[in-house]
Symmetry: C2
Subunit: 237 residues, 2 copies
Amino acid sequence: MKGKLYGIGVGPGDPELLTIKAAKILKNADIIICPKGKKGADSIALQIAREYINPRAKIKPQVFPMVFCQETLESHWNENLEEIKFDMDNGRTIAFITLGDPLLYSTYIYMLKVLKEKGYDIETVPGITSFSATASTVNLPLAEGDETLTILPLVKEDEPVEKVLRTADNIVVLKVSHDPKGLAAKLRKYGLEKNFVMISKCGHGDENITSDIGDLEEKEIPYLSTIIIKKGGQFHV
Amino acid sequence: MKGKLYGIGVGPGDPELLTIKAAKILKNADIIICPKGKKGADSIALQIAREYINPRAKIKPQVFPMVFCQETLESHWNENLEEIKFDMDNGRTIAFITLGDPLLYSTYIYMLKVLKEKGYDIETVPGITSFSATASTVNLPLAEGDETLTILPLVKEDEPVEKVLRTADNIVVLKVSHDPKGLAAKLRKYGLEKNFVMISKCGHGDENITSDIGDLEEKEIPYLSTIIIKKGGQFHV
């Protein structure tokens, strides 16, 4: 009998933001796949989920390098995929843990697509997104009434970012560390330099909150940083 | 000593999609505020959360009418607000439960704003959104790579909806029951009639999934319906 793969969102940082469903599955899975950016690095998703994992489960870190070389990416991805397929073919229950929600910008999506096509049994368990947690931390509404909310992974090119700044009512910027200075310049250009809040490492021990555009312009921005921009008004936290 | 208000997201339907944090708070709260659309109606949020609520807690339904008359709204809201303030002034711990995430289009936002301004102690606990749960149910990515995702509460006017259909890569439409026929016409206009999936009552006993534009044009659409539109390709579920 073939096994089953669960894609589990563990949320952005606070272990209590896992769902009850996620915790139940982690308690019963044979194998936990935890993605990380490079060999030797810690898996942040594993740190968040660790207390819920069955002590007898086998923890398998898999490297998903954060590089732009398609060949390197695919070679790692396919190796990871083969490992998962092997365990599923041997009837194992596998939990693939991801930060935030598994279907928003995660490496799990690639695995899901290939395995779904091959007829494997897969179930995705949604997770708390970084922007919901960020909004809750500062008690700031993401969107109200007829307003729109646009999620934008930050890129270096001007036009895609400016298009969103022009058209959306509320904006969540992910992957801020890709180009914080460029984003700061665009916020100034559109008069939004006082209309944002950024949280770095939301729910982690070294969480940091700022509404100061100077921080975007001058400071080192950690990888796990999320910005909420509200056109509706200036605010300070 | 003044009490504390927790705004708790209970997710879209499946009780197992509550977070561990939400369940802990519900277990210890003195008072549970559950919003509903009209007197006599069931509170859907209460149905989802009920198993986690302390049996000794006092459950207080509050009516937040779904009408467009500002005066009727504000009179109900202010009455509800006075009830919450009274209990907080008496040192009670209150959990205000909302469907999905409390900071995305919920009635809790109004309470939060007023009580925050008056210096009350408030903590928001994020919840799984209807669109994350919908995507998980059908194993469909919400957004990948550099793609954007825009959340749009459906309105009857053409231009705000068409602007989003033109500019976003992936779109979540909430409040579909406001104008399903109008939305269907716009999907056809932009060649997106095969690029969507709709879930009604996600995680409830009578959940329904469709990718058939005819259903939007001809059938009665329940209040709790969410659509995911992906420009990237046709798909069937």
